[in-house]
Symmetry: C2
Subunit: 219 residues, 2 copies
Amino acid sequence: MSKFMVIGLGNFGSQILRTLFEQGHEVVGVDLDREKVENAGEFSTRSVVADAEDNDFLEIVGALGMDAVVVSMGDHVSQSIITTLLLREIGVGHIIAKANSASHGRALGKVGAHKVVYPEKEIAVKLARQLTNPSMIDYLDLADDHVMAELLPPLEFTGKSLAELDLRREYNVLVVAVRESIPEKFVLLPPAEYVVKDSDTLIMLGKSADIAQLEKMRE
Amino acid sequence: MSKFMVIGLGNFGSQILRTLFEQGHEVVGVDLDREKVENAGEFSTRSVVADAEDNDFLEIVGALGMDAVVVSMGDHVSQSIITTLLLREIGVGHIIAKANSASHGRALGKVGAHKVVYPEKEIAVKLARQLTNPSMIDYLDLADDHVMAELLPPLEFTGKSLAELDLRREYNVLVVAVRESIPEKFVLLPPAEYVVKDSDTLIMLGKSADIAQLEKMRE
Ligand SMILES: Nc1ncnc2c1ncn2[C@@H]1O[C@H](COP(=O)(O)OP(=O)(O)OP(=O)(O)O)[C@@H](O)[C@H]1O
Ligand SMILES: Nc1ncnc2c1ncn2[C@@H]1O[C@H](COP(=O)(O)OP(=O)(O)OP(=O)(O)O)[C@@H](O)[C@H]1O
């Protein structure tokens, strides 16, 4: 069991507090707003009304003893920067800060955040990709321009086996799994003779441009 | 090129507006707040100050002609529900609505949202998983309790080949790729004689519990 502190109990802050609490960890919530602190009482070990920019407070409440501290005050840019700075100065070893813009994120990194997250941007980029390409069910950016994508197969794939389609040679992508929907079943590394149905989705790995090529075939 | 409308220009709304605009699509931003509308002018085709709960307005501004409309008013629960209802009543074919709680999301579904997104919750769950398990770099939930995870390999894997480790038989997981960090290189479906280095990360597929087993080995 680990110990976490979350400073700033907006939408994101209270979600991370609740998720860690429900996983059985010790979590402390901090906010200036009394009502938010009272609401957080149900999904935290302890919740405290305080100003996180008060240096003495961070030491008293035991920020140093936490496995990680999350600073979630995206719209309160100066407060989040000062709080991150103070946490780093007292020696907190793992600080995660939420940013609402790229410049805010860079400043948080400079003053000591170990990790910066951009929740709205991350989901906006994913949603934009799904809106502009309906065959893309879900994806994850990997490294070196590779993506893992779950796609509806192009219509001309239906009724053909993976061996016939020879996706590695033809399109430079790798089918690592198939999700069948009737009944819902997940087939890891399907055999070459697997025949694609139009109700299947294909989980593929490949370079972003190669995957995009396949997405366009269905339009 | 497609046409999108985004109603509610908070953090998430303005991010999705900007992302779609930068991808070259026609985007219309709507908000009650004049300052937010003026700021959005730079990253939208058109931005309009208006009350989205005004039925006539939605028809005049052409919501019906959009490929999709995003309703992003998570904290304004009643406004987002009424706006979603009105959009559906005038016949908009693809409505995506942001929710800040599960009950808000269910109500949006009932009044006609085609898709409900929970940006804060989705990233909070991912961050909580990374915080409580430092060997987990990134992951994506697939179907039927399967996950795709990028993990730091357990220390005892270092110096062993994938054939020796025999991960499919021993742990019921599949290594679909390896990310080398020095130099950064991505190896799709590594050969059986690939020897794991401690600076590599392994991209694996498997059941959530089987992947979790591997994560724990590194603690
Ligand atoms: N100095 C401070 N000390 C403690 N809490 C603070 C301080 N300044 C602001 N807060 C709190 O931080 C919380 C979150 O602020 P903010 O709205 O900036 O976050 P956000 O990241 O935009 O929110 P969301 O997660 O809802 O998108 C608010 O509840 C506010 O009361
Ligand atoms: N009836 C309405 N018509 C148009 N815009 C509205 C209406 N009601 C609220 N808004 C706008 O919706 C925007 C977003 O509202 P809200 O804060 O509820 O969203 P949120 O999802 O919590 O925000 P964020 O994306 O920042 O987390 C605000 O800018 C507000 O002015």
